[in-house]
Amino acid sequence: MLTLLEQVDKGTLWRSHGGIHPPELKTLSSKTTIANFPLASHFIIPIPQVGDSALLRIKKGERVVKGQALTAGTSFAHCAVHAPTSGTITAIEQLPSNHASGLPVLSCVLTADGQDESIETITSDLSTLDNQQILKLIQNAGIAGLGGAAFPTHIKLSPVSDIELVIINGIECEPYITSDDRLMQEYSDEIISGIAIIERLLTPKRIIIAIEDNKPEAIEAMQHSLNRSELSSDNVRITKVPTKYPSGGEKQLIQILTGQEVPSGAIPAQLGMLVQNVATAYAIQDAVINGQPLISRVVTVTGLNCETPGNYWLPIGTQVQHILQTSGFKGDLSQDKIIIGGPMMGHSLPDVTAPVLKGTNCILLPSTEEIAPDQQEMPCIRCGECAVVCPALLLPQQLFWHAQAEEYDKAASFNLHDCIECGCCSYVCPSDIPLVEYYRVAKSALRTQSEEKKQADLAKQRFDARQQRLEDEKLARETKAREAAARRKNSMASADKNVVAEAMARMKAKKAAQSNTADSVAPAPVQDKKAQIAAAIARAKAKKASATTATDHPVGSDDVEVDPIDDKKAKINAAIARAKAKKAQQNNPSAKTSAPDVQVNAVDEKKAKVAAAIARAKAKKQLQADGDKTQEKVLVDNDTALATNTVPNTNKESTETTLAADTKKARIAAAVAKAKAKKQSLTSDDTEATNPNAVANDSSTDPAAESALSPAEIKKARIAAAVAKAKAKKAQAKLEEKE
């Protein structure tokens, strides 16, 4: 029994399950050398990590030069992005992304100045660097996996466990794409020195450079470079892999080269293996030795709709539409797809303004003859071809069955998560079922479900914590109350009751005085703010109330108002009018208003309005509460010192002692109370005719109280009363109307 490494040295290959042999069509683009592309005038550089784990280093309008980092982050996962050329940042906004969804992501728009001025690049001598410095260089250069997944390379190169085997992936099994092929042919020395850096960082026992046997030139070039390099040929070998799609998939490649399977849900590092793309190796070399950040990459631009197919060095951030123009796009955007990536796994692009990203290895511009026409989905005939070609050994048709029925749990039980979305199943399906699309939908639904589950668990946890806290607080309060009661009992037993009564009276007087002074001292701005708040409250209430009125929510109880809705409406109208009036007064005196109350307000002071609004709000609250008891409570709450004697009608059972100190506030409140009383009588009285009388009575019982006031205050109170009256009348009118 040979050990794995011995077998690797022998070049043993294993079989991966399934796979297909689609037409390769690589010669379209593989014959010409990698060319440079004319610089675009605009670049769009998505900055996905900003806000998450990174900060933006530049501001709108700032000038940047080529290679300047645009983001900075302290976290280990941060992967920097750089300006691809010199120019000005003209916008930082949400722009369509190079993603199958085309959803906008935060991006910088760089308007190039054409000078292509670069930052100073610091070339380093590898021997003087330690591993941490190399990793830092890689991170700062923003290198991410160039094979398509764009996973930050520095994370991959700092594994927690030992890596025994590094696989350099030069498979490129997708049809059409030749970017790695050309790169290996033209830059094999650089790739090999990149591999040497990886070798130094990870010190694996073996490195395999895997290349498909349909790229003989690349294999030859790499072999020559390898022979020239310092790398020991005992440790590094180039392995030819038979052409089959998808052998370039990480898991499949590991299976082919080592016969081992990456456990579901695990990463290759757990097997002591690591897979890097050849283009990434090149970028590592460029970053570490030349100090060049990752700002451009080789992209295959190909397809029959392209006049000049080939491979190009494209700055990352180049818009696809620029590429279309420069490469002579022959197609019709309304007819033809633009595919980012290969035809098997790439996504069609919803918006050509999207940029080239680090993981963009191909822009495929196929004519309608080249790609599968849109065909109607036919019923599955369970032919099982999909299971035969599935490289992950899944049962695609069972998955489809459940995904179609939206039984995502069941789909998950058939290992949906192990699907690599390679597209083999859709490729062979005789019924033209877009299987992969079903799986993607199912996967995203499952992801949403698990997110929701997590959210629900969190919510439950927080809810329970809150319940516990409230419970604790309640207990604490009760204990405190008990203690206080005990203390009082003690003092009651020992001290004279009169003393207590006196103390209580003193306390009340003090309170009243306090509120007095507070009110009178309160400066104008505070009042102003209060007024605003009151107005806002009134507005909000009105809105809410109208909402409830609109739904015609019945209020059913024995001693409810005859017609609460109408009453409420009246109040709401008044409140709205008031708010409007205020606004009008503040901003535009000529604003049109119609309600009678408004006239009153228009000539009145702000304060009065505030009071009225508060009163109104309170009144409404009371009515909503529908009960004498609540009224009492509210009133008492409002101001204990408030002369309850002025509202005998409302508080029939009131036994509070009257306080002599009569304040402004008290008076306003009195007015309010009057209004309320009125309303109540209005609403609770069966005989409508008595209502005006009642109002009259109410207002006439007050002169005693009013006589002690200044004329201005009397005025205010009167206004409030008038407003209340007006409302009452309105309500009555409505009532009559209704009846």
Binding site: V109, E451, A456
Partner: protein, 189 residues
């Protein structure tokens, strides 16, 4: 006569044996607690919104286990109701609330309008609102369950329920839902 006796004896013995077996099984495989309520609770969305009439999801789950209707959870929607129906073994019933809330929403406070009254903080069942008296409040959107309970108490009506925006990470592959983009021939971006 003896036949009858034998039958009676045999049946009695059998009854005894099975009785003992059943009793033993009941002891041996005893299930602690009320798993049904817990299972139901696991299905509920945990918004703690109280729209079912119970103070939180757990009490409602217990109520369902005790035979309450299963259609009182609007945030869970029909899907949750069907799952519960499946679990409890009753027929699915249409939701008793109008089912227009399918989009998941979270609360946002318009912060310049907030007066700092703390009423929403008290209303929030999951403590997802941060703030203090007379100071501006804000919603920790990651914790917000979208239960709506904070909207009503706000005296200045400055809380909005906004749908959660879709990102490329949460996109659900609805290709047909991508709006058709009008592309200008203008070379500028």
């Amino acid at each position: 006569m003896s036949g009858i006796v034998i039958a009676v004896v045999v049946l009695t013995i059998l009854a005894l044996i099975f009785g003992i077996l059943l009793g033993f099984a009941a002891e041996k495989f005893k299930v602690e607690g009320d798993p049904l309520a817990e299972q139901v609770e696991a299905l509920l969305p945990q918004t703690q919104c109280g729209q079912c009439g119970y103070p939180g999801c757990k009490p409602y789950a217990e109520a369902i286990a005790n035979g309450d209707k299963i259609n009182k959870c609007p945030p869970g929607g029909t899907a949750t109701m069907e799952k519960i129906a499946d679990l409890v073994g009753v027929d699915p019933e249409p939701l008793n609330a109008t089912e227009e809330i399918q989009e998941k929403k979270v609360a946002y406070i318009r912060e310049d309008e907030c007066i700092g009254c703390t009423k929403c903080i008290q209303a929030c069942p999951v403590d997802a609102i941060l703030g203090s008296g007379k100071l501006m409040h804000t919603v920790i959107t990651d914790y917000c369950t979208g239960c709506d309970l904070c909207v009503a108490p706000c005296p200045v009506d400055c809380i909005d329920m906004l749908p959660i925006e879709q990102t490329t990470k949460t996109w659900n592959w609805q290709l047909n839902a991508i709006p058709v983009k009008q592309v200008q021939e203008d070379p500028q971006c």
